[in-house]
């Protein structure tokens, strides 16, 4: 049996339960008797009363973040890495050494040509 959507919807709309609810008077009289035995919940606190909480929390978070930043130790030199060194003068080798204790980097250029009379070789 092929049934159109429209007819199917109409047939579904007619699937009412065969039982009816109690008459209103009877139902609500029963309800009122039972409701007397139950306590209503306290009303929810209005949102306006808590309106200051969000800005205050934001301000506190901001102050905390600034405080942590200000009090934190300076950034470790190990965070910066010398990736390359360009030496214009002629030389034989370059060594880069990082000293964690002194938080410094040493760049050693071997056999770099310097101006005559300057004397040094590094």
């Amino acid at each position: 049996m092929k049934v159109s959507d429209n007819k199917l919807d109409q047939a579904l709309a007619r699937q009412k339960p065969g039982v009816e609810p109690r008459p209103a008077d009877e139902f609500w009289a029963d309800f009122k008797a039972r409701a007397r035995l139950r306590t209503q919940d306290a009303p929810a606190r209005p949102r306006q009363a808590l309106a200051w909480v969000t800005p205050l929390a934001c301000a506190a978070a901001l102050v905390l973040a600034v405080g942590v930043y200000m009090l934190s130790p300076p950034r470790d030199i190990n965070g910066d890495v010398i990736k390359s060194v360009e030496v214009v003068a002629s030389h034989s080798a370059v060594f880069i050494m990082e000293d964690k204790e002194s938080k410094s980097a040493i760049v050693w250029i071997v056999d770099m040509e310097t101006d005559p009379g300057n004397g040094g070789d590094t």
Binding site: M1, K2, V3, K7, L8, D9, Q10, A11, L12, A13, R14, Q15, K16, P17, G18, V19, E20, P21, R22, A24, F27, W28, D30, F31, K32, R34, A35, R38, T39, Q40, D41, A42, P43, A44
Partner: protein
């Protein structure tokens, strides 16, 4: 729902039981029908009563984040679950029993003048009723809540405790299965 529902709601919040009754009487018939789908017609009145009592207790905290109807159907869903769990007797299908089916009303269609059309429609109602019993409980319930009781997707979601997306998916699949069952006849 009454036109002066905002005023009735405020009065109900402050303990006016008459205002509560006036506010919710308009929903009682549909709520009863929904309860019939969820727990069966025999226990539906109990579920409706418990739903209203819980709503009475909680209405001071009603935050209007959903409509009163949706809120009420959500409570009804929870009450139905509690009811089912407490009785531990949900083995049987909660659709209508044979006796109840026999009492199903078959309203005359005012638009139909021809007796053969009336007969055809009545036959289709019976066929659909039988086909509904062959669907899963979830599919049958969602179809009846939507097409028989006229609930919105959000209300069905509240009444059945699933997301609106699941409701839409169930409706689509349920209707397709129903059509397949009817076509086999």
């Amino acid at each position: 729902m009454a036109d002066n529902s905002a005023e009735l709601l405020e009065r109900a919040r402050t303990g006016d039981v008459d205002a509560f009754a006036e506010l919710f009487e308009g929903l009682r018939s549909t709520l009863f029908s929904v309860a019939c789908r969820l727990v069966g017609p025999v226990d539906a009145d109990d579920v409706v009563m418990e739903t209203y009592l819980k709503a009475w207790q909680a209405i001071p905290r009603f935050g209007a984040r959903s409509s009163l109807r949706t809120w009420l159907y959500r409570i009804a869903h929870n009450c139905a679950l509690d009811y089912v769990r407490s009785r531990k007797r949900r083995k049987e299908h909660t659709l209508l029993s044979d006796e109840e089916k026999s009492r199903m009303e078959q309203l005359p269609d005012e638009r139909a003048d021809r007796p053969d059309e009336v007969a055809e429609r009545a036959e289709l109602v019976l066929e659909v009723r039988n086909a509904l019993t062959k669907l899963s409980h979830n599919h049958a319930v969602v179809l009846q809540l939507r097409y028989t009781d006229g609930l919105s997707y959000a209300e069905i979601a509240a009444a059945t405790g699933v997301s609106p997306g699941t409701v839409m998916s169930r409706l689509f699949n349920a209707k397709r299965k129903l059509s397949t069952i009817l076509e086999r006849k």
